[in-house]
Structures are given as C-alpha cells and as structure tokens.
Amino acid sequence: MATDTAEPAASEEIKPIPVRHPGRWVAIGILAFLGIALGNSMASNSRFQWGVIRHFLFDDRILRGVVVTIELTLSAMAIGIALGVLLAVMRLSPNPIVASVSWVYIWLFRGTPVLVQILLWYNIAALYPRFSLGIPFGPTFAHFSAASVITPFVAGMLALGLNEGAYMAEIVRAGIVSVPEGQTQAAQSLGMTRLLTMRRIVLPQAMRVIIPPTGNETISMLKTTSLVSVIALSPPELLYAAQLIYFVNYRVIQLLLVACIWYLVLTTIATIGQYYVERHYARGASRELPDTPLQRLRRNLFTRRPATQEIAEASGERR
C-alpha cells in the first residue's frame, strides 16, 4: 500500500511456491475417520429412534414450549438489564448508603443458587398469602392473593430476572468504569449534569464493553430457563414440555434430544444477533468495520478477479 509509492513499475510481483503442510492432511484424515465412525454408529444404532425424534421435533406441545422459553428468556433479561443498569449506577453513587444497598443486593442474589430462588418465589405464598396496594400503616386500595399474582410463570420470571440483575450489575459497572475519565470531564466542562453525562456520554460508550457479556448472559439464560421445569409451568417451557411427553410415552432420550436441538437453534440465533448488535456499537471505536461473514460471502461469490489480486486486497485495504 504505502511501500510501492517509489517505482511501482519496477517492482516484480513475488510468486513463491507455498510451503507444504503434510501434518495438516494427517490431522484432517484422523478427524474425518473419527467423525465418520461416530456418525455411522449414531445412524446405525436403532435405539436412537431417529423417527421418533423427527416426529416430535415439530410437535405442537414442543413448539409451544419453545415459545414459552423465548418469552421467559426475554422477560427475565429485560428485568435483569434494567435492574443491572440501576444497580450499577447505584453502586457508583457518591451516596454511601445507596452504594451499599446495591452491594448487599448483589451479595444476596449472586450468593444463593438460582434454583433455590426459583423454588422460593414459587412458594412465596407461604410467607405472604396476600398482597395489598396502599399506604403503609394507612388505607389500602386493593388486595391480591399471592396465588393469583405469582403464577408459576411470574415466579420463574422474577427469580431468573432478579438473579440476572445481580450479574448484569457487575457487567454494566465494568462497562461504565471502562469509559475514560476524560469523557466525563469534557461533558462536565460543557455544563452537562451527572445524569445527562451518564445517559448521553458514558453509557453509550460503555455499551461496547457491556454487549458481549450480555450476549453471553442471554445465551446462558436461554438454557437456565430449563430450571423452571421444577415448578410446573402451564403452558410448560421447552424442557418441561418434553418431560410431560416422555412421562407418558417413556421416549426419554428422544425427547431430551428434541429439547437439545431446539436449545441449539435458539442459542445459534442469539449468537448471530449478538454479532450484529456488537457491530452496531463498535462504530466510532475502529476506523472501519470489517465485513460481516455474509458480506464477505457475497463479495467472494459475485466479484471475479485474479487470485493474486484477491490476496493483496484481503491483506491490504478493504474497499
């Protein structure tokens, strides 16, 4: 790029004979053999009962379970992210009481197993059989029974969301402290308040650090929702939906594999989504964004050029 400014005409292109890598071919051979052996054993082992798996993969009850799993994940993550931002900002507050309340929350919810929290929320009626809305020690406006408000779905959503809030708080806090001090000072010197600085300057830049682990948390949450199967949701989420079927027909392995396939589909979609969200928040951080895999594929498919030029292009300037 920069080096060939002197006399481009005089410099001769290098066309070397590439180094051979026989070791790579050996490794490929071994892996291919193992892969074929595994595939063969899975295909020929009639106990897998692939037909059963295929039959239940798009069963209505399973599909409804997939939808409930997505609903649980999204609502729990929404609670978790909102709570996480709040707790992180509280944690960094100059008010020591506010900061320590945040610390205690994180200590409590991160320090106890999420499965136990799910069971506790499910059984909250034992502690508070009735809720009432009103002024403390004053008149009340409305009464609810715990059983009607805290349905199993709400118990699961609350348990997962409140637990997630503790983890998200740490992620958001790491993002906030990653933004250089100078950004805050510049904002302050322009007369921006603490809140405005946080909202307009710090949080948007913290996103670049916050997004990747949040994607991980979302993927992790998709799988963690399976714990909610212990409190008998209705309609059931994915794992419990599979369980309800195998309680009747005893095809335990087949239905667990069906659940696995759907969990994989969901996490794959979430992974792709994460890639694009990360890209969005990377703007301004690097001079030019690299092509997405799709753009690269399209470019390779639809533009033809001599091979050497392509190599030069790939290693040198883009576009």
């Binding site: 000072q185 510049a186 302050q188 010197s189 322009l190 007369g191 001079r287």
Partner: protein, 255 residues
C-alpha cells in the same frame, strides 16, 4: 467598572497530603489572553481545573465574572452551590483538554451540537447550522460526519475547540492544547487559537509551552513553580529579562 473575568485570591488546593496550589493570586480582565508556563507538577492544570470547578479549592477565594466558583455568599455565610448551579456556571466556561476528550461515539458535528441541544435546549436545526459555521471556522467544514478515530490529532483538537465555542463561553481555558500533538500538527491548532484571540477578543487562559504563541498572542505570561506564581509580565519580558533564576532555568530548557 466591570469585575475582572477571573479573580483568584490566595487560592489553595491539596490532594490528600500533597499541597498543589499554595496561594495563587491572579486577575484576568475580559478580553485578555494569559499564558501560563511552568514545569510539570507546578499546579498549572490544577489551577485551570479549579476555575470551572472540576476541582474544589480548599482555601482562598476564586471568582469568575464577579461570582464565586462553586459557592455563593449571603452576608458572611458561604453556601455550596447545587449541582444544577455548578453546571450552569460551567456551561459558560469553555475548556479544551490536552487529550482532546472528544466523545468517541459521536461524529464531529454531533460532538459540537451535543451541549447546545441537551444543556441549552437549542432547537436541533439551529444548533446544526451554528455548529457548521464553527467547524467551518476551524477549517473542518469537510469533516462533519467523521468520528474522532478518523481524524488526526490536530483535527480532533480543532473539533474540541469548536465544541467549547458552541456554548458561547465568556472564558476559554486551554490545558496544554498542543502537548499531545505531532509537531507538524501544532501549527493548525495554534492558528485557530490566535484567531480567537485577535478576531474574536475571547478571554483565554492558556497553559502552554509554545513560547511562539505566547509571544504573538498573549497579553501576559505567568510562570508557575511549586504551586505559586513566581513571575509575571508581558511576553517580551520573559524573552529578554526574566528575573527569577528558576524562570531562566525553565526557559533555557524549553526554548
């Protein structure tokens, strides 16, 4: 007579055990350009940051345009200002940093309109029009939509100056504005600053080691050492007959 733009009386500031300002007194009149020189750690930057209350002073009095910085006085009682009041006062003082501190997630134009739109509540269209004029004035009319990472250091610093000017400040503070720049980029930033001094009669306090700039644009030069102003005078004084031994040493090291 109108009060001086900046008036400091025996200002002291300590960080823990370290006393950084040991009684700084200074008056800057409206329209004046004052350069501060001195070795690193002598308190120049700290003093600048005290003027817009990025740092709190511990003793003495510091006022801008007749009003105490960060406090207000009723009778003989001094009250701490509320956050909103501090912010309002800061919005009238522009500051330019050594490390530019442009908002990384915003384009040059967005950087400049941010404070007018969100602090002053200027309508966005009007802010954009004003920002374009300012960016044109610092020679960056063609760089409106570039992010800071796509700009050179000199361009970033000029955007930072435009960003500060967008609030129509009555006082501009420059904290070593050219120290982080490649030598060949220093000139373009100094040109913009000179134009502020000559064409717009902006009141400026500039912490800098650019003696060429001081000679051309400054009305007064102050030499700081160990938390105090040890010598002051017109720029020629420092080139021809510096009085203090410490000043002579320092000048011979940087010139």
């Amino acid at each position: 007579m109108s009060p001086p733009m900046v008036k400091a009386e025996a200002v002291r500031k300590r960080f823990g055990r370290l006393e950084v300002l040991k009684g700084v007194s200074l008056e800057v009149e409206a329209g004046e350009v004052v350069c501060m020189i001195g070795p690193s750690g002598s308190g120049k930057s700290t003093f600048l940051r005290c003027i817009n209350h990025l740092e709190k002073i511990d003793a003495g009095r510091l006022s801008v345009d007749g009003d105490l910085v960060g406090y207000h006085q009723v009778g003989d009682k001094i009250y701490e200002q509320r956050d909103a009041e501090v912010c309002r006062d800061r919005s009238e003082i522009g500051m330019v940093f050594q490390q530019f501190n442009l908002f990384g997630h915003m384009t040059a134009l967005q950087n400049v309109i941010e404070a007018p739109v969100h602090v002053r509540k200027v309508p966005k269209k009007q802010a954009i029009a004003a920002a374009k004029v300012l960016l044109e004035r610092v020679g960056l009319g063609h760089r409106l939509d570039n992010y800071p990472s796509q700009l050179s250091g000199g361009e970033q610093q000029r955007v930072a100056i435009a960003r500060a000017l967008a609030m129509g400040p009555k006082l501009m503070l420059f904290d070593e504005p050219t120290s982080a720049l490649d030598p060949e980029l220093v000139g373009e930033v100094l040109e913009v600053m000179k134009s502020l001094a000559f064409d717009f009669k902006t009141t400026m306090i500039v912490v800098t080691h650019e003696m060429g700039f001081a000679r051309e644009a400054a009305d007064r030069v102050l030499m700081m050492d160990d938390g105090k102003i040890i010598e002051e005078g017109p720029p020629e004084h420092f080139f021809t007959a510096p009085r203090e031994e410490r000043t002579k040493q320092f000048l011979s090291a940087i010139l």
